[in-house]
């Protein structure tokens, strides 16, 4: 088709724009999520606090007072709860908003239209999810200690616990993003239950992994769950006296899983964003 009768531009003053720097755009996209996160701090507190604190209360205070659970259980359990808060808070804080933003409101389009490779928008989401997960882990530590009346305290182990929780949160964010960008909206609820429940209950939150040698098949199952390495890593850092997986094993496995899941989740996000 020939374009005839092309009108004369009246006053063409708009010159093609130069592309802004990637770092600057990435920071702007991140800033928006940080601002929203800051405003939703109380939501994170509720998200973080309820399930783990109830678990602590029932397993330690209720069952402990009935003599069904030993006195040292709280010390073993609290590191698991910190690990659980890091991973699941990150998972939820990226998955649920993404389902909404991609599925119903399409709010994310504005950020997808920023002059930035789409993968960076996905990485930004993972960064925010990790921050929220870490925030949850940091908050649950003193809250849990208050709940059970004591907590393992070993300053030398805190850096390792922090790195493990960070990797756990990053992995949780990546799992959440992969699910939210690939599953049909109508199946998202049931899938979360199907995925989250085994993550929690086979993640060595309540028990040290080496002691599962009495149930070998279950020990193998738990070894397939990245949550196990987060729980064991935090527990080992805070309670070196309790049998646990070596820290280097936890860090190696978690780094490997984080690399693979980052690739998978960014790919899922990009495929959803650009068809």
């Amino acid at each position: 088709m020939t374009a005839l009768d092309t009108p004369t531009p009246l006053r063409p003053t708009i010159a093609p724009r130069s592309r802004p720097g990637t770092g600057r755009v990435f920071a702007a996209v991140l800033r928006r999520d940080l601002m929203v996160t800051g405003r939703e701090l109380w939501v994170i507190l509720v998200q973080v606090g309820l399930t783990p604190l109830f678990m602590l209360f029932v397993f330690n205070t209720v069952l402990g007072s009935q003599g069904l659970v030993g006195r040292g259980f709280a010390d073993v359990f609290l590191p698991g709860i910190i690990a659980l808060a890091a991973l699941t808070t990150a998972l939820q804080s990226v998955a649920l908003p993404l389902v909404k933003e991609f599925g119903f409101t399409m709010e994310i389009e504005d950020r997808l239209m920023a002059p930035l490779p789409t993968g960076y928008v996905a990485i930004g989401k993972l960064v925010i999810a990790t921050i929220r997960g870490l925030l949850a882990a940091v908050l649950i530590y003193p809250l849990g200690a208050l709940m059970v009346g004591s907590a393992p305290w070993r300053p030398a182990g805190l850096p390792l616990a922090f790195v493990v929780a960070l990797l756990g949160a990053w992995i949780g964010g990546a799992i959440g993003m992969s699910l939210a960008t690939t599953l049909p909206v109508q199946r998202i609820n049931v899938t979360f239950s199907v995925i989250l429940t085994p993550i929690i209950w086979t993640g060595c939150i309540h028990y040290p992994w080496p002691r599962l040698s009495s149930v070998p098949w279950y020990q193998v199952v738990t070894a397939l769950n990245p949550m196990t390495y987060v729980s064991e890593g935090v527990r080992g850092a805070l309670l070196p006296g309790v049998p646990h997986l070596p820290g280097w094993v936890c860090l190696t496995v978690l780094t490997g899983v984080a690399v693979v899941l980052t690739w998978v989740s960014v790919r899922c996000f990009s495929r959803r964003a650009i068809q």
């Binding site: 990637t22 709010e107 504005d110 239209m113």
Partner: protein, 391 residues
């Protein structure tokens, strides 16, 4: 193809898009260009491929073949750089609900590298220009459809794009908002922004678009100025006749007979009207309700007398004198059964064809129930090219 006035800011060359597991191409070899300061209308029925085309131009869809550049940037090769050149106003409300209206503008600008202080100044100016200053710091949920649409256009302008894409920009908006939006688009055109818009409100858009491309089945059917399209395809005038054929007469034969009259480019049957006067071409026209076959002579004489001036759409006098009316609106007489609506696309004045048409109908003893005269519109061109079947 670059225009004669400078390089195009949108170039689409042999664009092809086939979705996975699809049997046919959604876009099938599309080519067109848009120059700075031009408003380009991309029209087509639902599923014609226009949204896919805009999706590829705005980097949200990946092309299967062909080449697309926006602001001189190859969209396929460097989508991030292309996004710096363009802005999109979608049909659905995709405003960021976690932010206030003002923050929507400020954050959008910063996503495009505008410094925060400058972004805030631009946001304030745009909120003022779109009449949203007073409601700039409320929740987005409190916004009406028109306000959300204005805010989305304002947001698109915060980073001063070279090309602005709008999908149904005035859909379901009140006349005041529509006027404001069309006015703003004219202003942007004057500043050299290229605008690509898709809409079904073609007759309204025809007043602002410089060129129109009509697509169907992924192909460009035509590309020209609205005036040239209307003149070239739909003819100079339309004459709609509602008639009741004589018993046993074949409706298609009546249509064919009218189509053979000198000055008629095409005759087509329309759906039977439901109201007393029926649909009127070009948004207005003359109504001659309930003229029986016996009144044909008088009608022809009137038509001959009125042949001096070319009637404009919606301005033709209604010839509804009591003497002309046969049976007080034939619709009531027979309940509309057996009626036939025929549209004649004319090469010249409608009034000069009225007499011969009435004579031809009288010769077949057909009763005329209504006559409507009007000017063809862009929508008529659209229907002519893409058919009447809903998609």
């Amino acid at each position: 193809m670059p225009s004669r006035d400078g390089p195009a800011v949108v170039e689409v060359h042999d664009l092809v898009k086939r979705y996975p597991r699809a049997d046919t191409n959604a876009v099938d070899g599309l080519s067109f260009t848009v120059t700075p300061g031009e408003i380009f209308g991309l029209f087509g029925p639902n599923g014609a491929g226009k949204s896919t085309t805009v999706g590829i131009l705005t980097t949200r869809l990946r092309a299967t073949g062909g080449r697309v550049t926006v602001g001189g940037v190859d969209v396929g090769r460097d989508p991030a750089a292309a996004r710096a050149q363009l802005a999109v106003v979608p049909q659905h409300n995709n405003l960021d609900r976690a932010l206030t209206p003002r923050q929507n503008l400020v954050y959008h600008a910063t996503y495009h590298g505008v410094r925060r202080r400058e972004a805030q100044a631009r946001a304030a100016e745009l909120l003022e220009r779109f009449g949203l200053t007073e409601r700039a710091d409320r929740r987005i949920e409190a916004y009406s459809g028109g306000m959300a649409q204005r805010l989305m256009i304002a947001r698109a302008l915060t980073h001063e794009p070279t090309v602005l894409f709008l999908d149904e920009p005035t859909n379901a908006l009140d006349p005041q908002t529509r006027l404001l939006i069309w006015g703003q688009l004219r202003e942007l055109r004057a500043r050299g922004v290229a605008i690509v818009l898709t809409t079904h409100a073609m007759n309204e858009a025809a007043r602002v678009v410089d060129r129109v491309g009509i697509v169907d089945h992924g192909r460009l059917l035509t590309l020209d100025t609205p005036t040239n399209l209307v003149r070239g395809l739909a003819g100079d005038a339309l004459l709609d006749l509602t008639v009741t054929p004589a018993g046993g007469d074949d409706p298609d034969a009546i249509c064919a007979a009218l189509g053979e009259l000198t000055g008629v480019r095409k005759a087509e049957r329309l759906a039977t009207p439901t109201g007393p006067a029926g649909w009127r071409p070009g948004g207005g026209g003359a109504g001659l309700a309930g003229v029986g076959a016996g009144g044909a002579g008088m009608l022809a004489a009137l038509a001959a007398g009125a042949g001096g001036g070319r009637p404009g759409a919606g301005r033709l006098a209604a010839l509804a004198g009591a003497g002309l009316l046969g049976r007080g609106g034939g619709a009531a007489g027979n309940g509309g059964r057996g009626r036939l609506r025929i549209r004649l696309h004319l090469a010249g004045e409608a009034a000069t064809l009225l007499g011969p048409a009435v004579t031809a109908l009288a010769a077949r003893s057909a009763a005329i129930n209504a006559v409507d005269i009007g000017e063809p519109s862009l929508e008529d061109v659209f229907i002519e090219l893409t058919g009447r079947q809903p998609r």
